[in-house]
């Protein structure tokens, strides 16, 4: 970690690698960083050729993200220009009523769909410039997905579901089996390795999905309504699991939800309404507000 001061506004950021733009005043900070000896030049969108570590403060950034769906003759805007910066290691919740565009945003960030306008960067790499191979690699190795309806492959056992992304990543069979077994044991399903999804309860299926999302040690976990199909208790277990993962391993968690339990776990909550960011709350502020309200009532 290096502390770098912005030459314009003297905002100090703590970074493990490269941020070339000051997050406060958007001034170019390349020079300050070169001085700090931490710059690595890299062409945007191209494949990193060396193995040197490149890290950015923001793992995901979106700029003017728009998505328009065409329903016959009518154009339905799902996103109307979203600018969102997501920090590395952050637990971010995207909240909003259904139809607000949160799932659409989730799909863009996860590289599952292409925006109509605007750009989405992962680690400063423009996703629109990635070819099919690079996109598949990104989905396989760097992003773990968790869905509302679990989306396990029904004909495969729990273990096979967890090892599938490892097959794509080219892991050897022995290594794969060992890691798959370990991950399932760690989510508390050590005794259900060879059960098919329909032989497992909802909470168990979602835990298999969490283990699968972790298969290739991703940098980002994207969870689309992970508690939507679960009862209160099981939902809470999954949230606790995600929170702990976030705290312990520093994996960035982005979760689309309208589950209020999520608020407690997240660092920031992005409220989306009608395809636009309505407001962004920090959890610390939220606590303050709740405390204030409670105080007002008491007084």
């Amino acid at each position: 970690m290096a502390r770098i001061e912005c030459p314009e506004c003297h905002y100090v950021i703590e970074t493990t690698g490269i941020v070339t733009v000051c997050p406060e005043c958007k001034a170019d900070m390349t020079k300050a960083m070169e001085e700090a000896g931490r710059v690595e030049r890299r062409v945007r969108g191209s494949i990193a050729k060396d193995d040197s570590v490149t890290t950015h403060e923001f793992i995901v950034r979106t700029k003017g993200l728009k998505k328009i769906y065409r329903m016959g003759e009518v154009e339905v805007p799902a996103l109307r220009g979203v600018d969102l910066d997501i920090r590395r290691g952050e637990y971010l919740s995207i909240m909003g009523p259904s139809g607000s565009g949160k799932s659409t945003l989730f799909n863009m960030v996860g590289g599952l769909d292409k925006p109509s306008e605007g750009t989405c960067f992962i680690e400063e790499v423009d996703m629109a410039q990635l070819d099919a191979f690079e996109l598949a690699w990104l989905r396989c190795r760097k992003i773990g997905y968790i869905f509302q309806s679990f989306n396990l492959i029904p004909v495969m056992t729990a273990l096979e579901n967890v090892t599938l992304p490892m097959i794509f990543a080219g892991m050897s069979t022995d290594e794969m089996m060992e890691r798959g077994r370990m991950l399932l044991e760690l989510v508390g399903l050590g005794g259900r390795l060879h059960h098919k999804p329909f032989e497992l309860s909802g909470g168990q299926q979602q835990r298999v999905a969490v283990a699968r999302a972790l298969a290739n040690s991703p940098a980002i976990i994207l969870a689309d309504e992970p508690t939507g199909n679960l009862d209160l208790q099981t939902g809470k277990e999954i949230i606790d699991l995600l929170k702990e993962l976030n705290a312990e391993s520093g994996v960035t968690i982005i979760s689309a939800t309208h589950d209020l339990k999520m608020i407690d776990a997240s660092d920031r909550i992005v409220h989306i309404r009608d395809g636009e960011i309505e407001r962004i709350e920090l959890r610390s502020e939220l606590d303050l507000q709740i405390g204030h309200l409670a105080g007002a009532e008491g007084g």
């Binding site: 493990t16 690698g17 494949i47 990193a48 193995d51 570590v53 490149t54 890290t55 950015h56 793992i59 290691g89 799909n107 996860g110 599952l112 769909d113 292409k114 992962i122 680690e123 790499v125 990635l130 191979f133 690079e134 598949a136 690699w137 990104l138 989905r139 396989c140 190795r141 760097k142 869905f147 989306n151 029904p154 004909v155 599938l164 992304p165 097959i167 794509f168 990543a169 080219g170 890691r179 370990m182 991950l183 760690l186 989510v187 508390g188 699968r212 972790l214 290739n216 040690s217 991703p218 940098a219 606790d240 699991l241 702990e244 993962l245 705290a247 312990e248 391993s249 520093g250 994996v251």
Partner: protein, 241 residues
């Protein structure tokens, strides 16, 4: 029950390290075959429908070919006996031979037409069945793409599945068509037809029929498989079946 601390440790590797975009993604044939065969054995109902298309098409083809081989055997036998009884001169038999030749040709043409039509119908049937089978699995395809599957992996899985079904279906179909036709001829012409026919020739037709069944299943599956693979994952995941 959940060991989140150790789980987190297991997940740490790239979370701190960052993202380097690379492009190495694999699906070895061994694993692809395993997954495809699993799909055939576990979705027996759907597989049976696709397979039935091949079975019927190839059974028809094989019955036509069996009929051909048996008739050829009978004719050869007749010609042999006719030749031994009446030693006729060249000039006298010429018009008879000419007639037989013509009739043979028109019969061959009729048979070819039937075979082509039946294979076409069979091909359309398999395509339709594969299309259904693909549509049922849109969500699964979307999930696989989220996990890092390339379009070509999806195509590969469906093609292997279809060829496996095509092979099994055409083996069953070939046996079925052959046995039924042979029984019909045995009832009509006596049990000796089996001895009179050219079994080597029959064997060749067997191999040809099975090969044709596989090719048919392969070709029929290409369009549905490609269509499925090219869907963007978000759209594939959003489909309700």
């Amino acid at each position: 029950m959940i060991d989140a601390k150790r789980l987190a440790k297991a997940a740490t590797a790239t979370a701190v390290e960052g993202v380097h975009i690379q492009r190495q993604i694999t699906l070895p044939w061994k694993d692809a075959a395993r997954i495809s065969i699993r799909n055939v054995t576990l979705r027996l109902g759907r597989a049976a429908i696709t397979g039935a298309g091949v079975v019927l098409g190839i059974a028809f083809l094989m019955s036509v070919w069996t009929g051909k081989v048996v008739t050829e055997g009978l004719e050869r036998e007749q010609a042999k006996s006719a030749f031994s009884i009446t030693q006729v001169g060249e000039g006298e038999t010429a018009p008879g031979l000419e007639e037989m030749k013509q009739e043979k040709q028109s019969r061959a043409a009729r048979q070819a037409w039937l075979v082509v039509m039946s294979l076409l119908v069979c091909g359309v049937g398999i395509t339709n069945s594969m299309l259904m089978s693909v549509t049922e699995r849109f969500r699964e395809i979307g999930t696989m793409k989220c996990l890092g599957a390339l379009d070509s992996f999806i195509v590969r899985l469906f093609l292997i599945e279809s060829v496996v079904l095509g092979f099994l279906g055409s083996v069953v179909g070939a046996l079925l068509g052959h046995v039924i036709m042979l029984i019909v001829f045995m009832i009509r012409e006596g049990a000796s037809v089996a001895a009179k026919m050219n079994w080597l020739h029959m064997g060749e037709y067997f191999v040809l029929a099975i090969g044709l069944g596989c090719v048919l299943a392969f070709v029929a599956a290409v369009a549905p498989a490609v269509r499925a693979a090219q869907m963007p994952p978000a759209a594939a995941l959003a489909t309700e079946v």
